[in-house]
C-alpha cells in the first residue's frame, strides 16, 4: 500500500546514489518539484531515464547528479537546445555523461515491456538508420513464424519511478487524466515509486475517458505537492508556463547563470515554492 510522505521523505525513500530512476511525464505532469528535491538532497551517479530529458534533467545533469542518461529526444520543446545536456555531452561539464540513445518508439515499447515483466521489447523500427551502430543495446530477434527480423531493446526496469499526478484518494490510489504519457508504465516497470499529487481527495468523482488509475498497492509513496509539475502543467489545475521554457534557454546557456538560478530557486527554496508558481500561472491563464 502506498504511504503518504513529505517530498523530502519520498525522495529519500526511493532514490539512493547510483540507482536508476525514470521521472516521466510527456509534456504534461512533469515532476519538477521532485527533480528539485533530488538536487537539494545531492543525489549522485544516477542513471536518468526519460523519453524527453526536458528542463528537469537539464537541471539534474548540470548539478552533477547523473552518471548516465537513457533518452530519445533531448531538446527544449519549441525553443531549442538543452544547454546543460549539450555542455555535458560536448564538453564533459560538470563531468562526462554516458548516454544510451533510443527512438521514442523504442523507449515507449521498453517501458511497456518493463511493466509487463518481460526482459525485452520487440518492435518494427530502426530500419536504415545509424543509431544501432552506436548503441549496442539495439539488437534483433527473428519471428519464429515469418522469418522477419524485428528490432529489440531491453525492457526498462528502473530502481525507481517518479511521476506527478492530479489526485490521490485517502487510500493512496492515484489518478491521472488528460495526456497520460508513459507514466503508468514507468510506475509499473519500477521496483519502487514516488507520486507527487496536486491534491488529496475523498473521491475521484467524474473522470475523463482516458483516466489512468494506479491502485494504492502498486505505488510505494505519495507526496502532496501542489504545483509540483510547474513549468509543465497539470490538466485542469494550471497551464504550461511557456514563457519559462523560453527563459530557460538564456538561464541555462552559461554555467554561471545556471548555477545562480539553481541556488536561488532550488537550493534556497523548498517544495512550497511550487504552489506559488502554479497559482501565478493559473491567474495568468
Amino acid at each position: 500500500m502506498a504511504e503518504f510522505v513529505s517530498l523530502a521523505q519520498g525522495i529519500e525513500a526511493v532514490l539512493s546514489d547510483g540507482c536508476s530512476v525514470a521521472m516521466e511525464g510527456f509534456t504534461h505532469l512533469i515532476p519538477h518539484a521532485a527533480g528539485h528535491e533530488t538536487i537539494r538532497q545531492g543525489k549522485r551517479r544516477l542513471t536518468l531515464i526519460r523519453m524527453t530529458p526536458d528542463l528537469i534533467y537539464d537541471q539534474l545533469i548540470g548539478m552533477a547528479c547523473a552518471e548516465k542518461l537513457i533518452f530519445s529526444w533531448g531538446g527544449n520543446p519549441g525553443v531549442g537546445s538543452l544547454h546543460r545536456f549539450r555542455d555535458a555531452v560536448e564538453n564533459g561539464w560538470p563531468h562526462k555523461l554516458e548516454i544510451e540513445e533510443h527512438s521514442h518508439a523504442a523507449m515507449a515499447n521498453a517501458y511497456e515491456a518493463g511493466a509487463a515483466n518481460l526482459p525485452f521489447a520487440v518492435f518494427r523500427g530502426y530500419k536504415g538508420v545509424d543509431l544501432p551502430s552506436v548503441n549496442p543495446q539495439i539488437r534483433s530477434v527473428t519471428c519464429p513464424y515469418t522469418g522477419e527480423v524485428l528490432a529489440t531493446v531491453p525492457a526498462i526496469r528502473p530502481d525507481a519511478a517518479i511521476i506527478h499526478a492530479l489526485k490521490a484518494d485517502r487510500e493512496g490510489n492515484v489518478l491521472l487524466e488528460g495526456i497520460v504519457g508513459v507514466q503508468k508504465e514507468a510506475v509499473l516497470s519500477a521496483k519502487r515509486s514516488l507520486v507527487t499529487v496536486e491534491e488529496i481527495v475523498d473521491d475521484f468523482g467524474p473522470r475523463n475517458a482516458n483516466a489512468v488509475i494506479l491502485p494504492s498497492w502498486a505505488v510505494t509513496a505519495i507526496a502532496h505537492v501542489p504545483g509540483g509539475a510547474y513549468p509543465s502543467y497539470a490538466h485542469g489545475y494550471y497551464k504550461r508556463a511557456n514563457d519559462f521554457y523560453i527563459a530557460w534557454d538564456k538561464i541555462a546557456r552559461e554555467r554561471d547563470t545556471f548555477l545562480a538560478w539553481i541556488k536561488d530557486n532550488v537550493l534556497d527554496k523548498g517544495p512550497d515554492a511550487f504552489a506559488g508558481h502554479a497559482l501565478a500561472t493559473r491567474e495568468a491563464a
Partner: protein, 256 residues
C-alpha cells in the same frame, strides 16, 4: 498581400492534404499546415499528435506536442505506448510530417549530431519519434527552410531513413511505405525523381529563381524537365493562416 517564404512553405504543404488523410503532426510548420488544411479545404482531416491525442481539432496552434488544448479538442487521448504500437506501428497513419537539421539528396535526415557521434561538435536533440514515423507512415512530407548547412552533400548521421542511396533501398530493407514524397521548402517544392529517387525541384515559389534555390543547397540540384511555378497564396489561405497565428499569439503570448 503576398506570402512570406515561411508562409509559402506552410501553404504549399497544406494544399497536399485531403479529408481522407490521417496525419501524424509535429510542432511548427507541420502543425500550421495541417490546421490550415483543416480550416480551409479539408475540414474532416484527421490530426494525431504523438502525445496520444487522436482526431484533435485545436482552435489555436499548440506550442508543445502535448498542450492541454490538443487533449481538450481530441476525440480521445491514448497512452504513449499505445500511440506508438497500435496507431503508428499499426500502419494507420497515411501522412507523417518530418523536418530536421540536415537533409541529403535522397531525403535522409539528421537531427542527432554534427561531427562524430562520440565527440560531437554539436549535439542535436536526437530522433524522438522520427525514425519510426519515417518507416511506418504511408508517406512522408518534409518541411525545411533551405540553406547550405541544412541541405548537405553528406550527413554525419542518419537519424531517419528517406531513400537511402537511391531508388530501391527502401524496398531492400523490407519497407512497404513510400517514404518522403514531397519536400516543401521556403523557396521551392522538391520530389524524389521517379527513376533515381534523387530530390528534384518540381516547382519554384513565386518570384524565386533557380539560382536562389541552388544557393540554398550544398549539392548540385537537379531540376525537373518542366519546373512549374508554385501557385501564389490565395487571399483566403493567407488570411486563415494569419488569423490562426494571431489567435495563437493571443492565447499563448508567443508565436507557435
Amino acid at each position: 498581400m503576398s506570402a512570406t517564404p515561411t508562409e509559402m512553405m506552410t501553404i504549399a504543404a497544406a494544399r497536399l492534404l485531403a479529408n481522407t488523410d490521417v496525419c501524424f503532426v509535429g510542432i511548427g510548420a507541420p502543425s500550421a499546415a495541417c490546421n490550415l488544411a483543416r480550416l480551409t479545404h479539408a475540414p474532416k482531416i484527421t490530426l494525431i499528435y504523438e502525445s496520444g491525442t487522436l482526431s484533435t481539432r485545436p482552435t489555436v496552434l499548440p506550442l508543445s506536442i502535448g498542450d492541454g488544448e490538443l487533449c481538450d479538442t481530441a476525440l480521445t487521448t491514448v497512452a504513449v505506448p499505445e500511440m506508438f504500437r497500435y496507431w503508428l506501428q499499426g500502419a494507420r497513419i497515411t501522412i507523417g510530417f518530418l523536418g530536421g537539421a540536415q537533409i541529403d539528396r535522397f531525403a535522409n535526415l539528421n537531427t542527432t549530431v554534427v561531427g562524430p557521434y562520440d565527440a560531437p561538435k554539436v549535439r542535436l536533440p536526437g530522433g524522438g519519434g522520427a525514425p519510426e514515423i519515417a518507416s511506418n507512415c504511408g508517406q512522408i512530407f518534409i518541411t525545411m527552410a533551405m540553406g547550405t548547412r541544412a541541405f548537405v552533400e553528406k550527413l554525419p548521421f542518419i537519424t531517419s531513413f528517406g531513400h537511402g542511396k537511391g531508388k530501391g533501398d527502401r524496398a531492400a530493407l523490407g519497407l512497404k511505405t513510400k517514404g518522403p514524397t514531397k519536400i516543401m521548402t521556403d523557396l521551392c517544392v522538391l520530389e524524389p525523381d521517379p527513376e533515381t529517387a534523387e530530390l528534384t525541384v518540381v516547382s519554384l515559389h513565386p518570384g524565386v529563381s533557380r539560382e536562389q534555390v541552388q544557393a540554398g543547397c550544398a549539392w548540385p540540384l537537379r531540376f525537373a524537365a518542366e519546373v512549374t511555378e508554385t501557385p501564389a497564396a490565395t487571399a483566403e489561405e493567407l488570411s486563415v493562416l494569419r488569423d490562426l497565428h494571431a489567435r495563437t499569439r493571443q492565447a499563448h503570448g508567443v508565436a507557435a
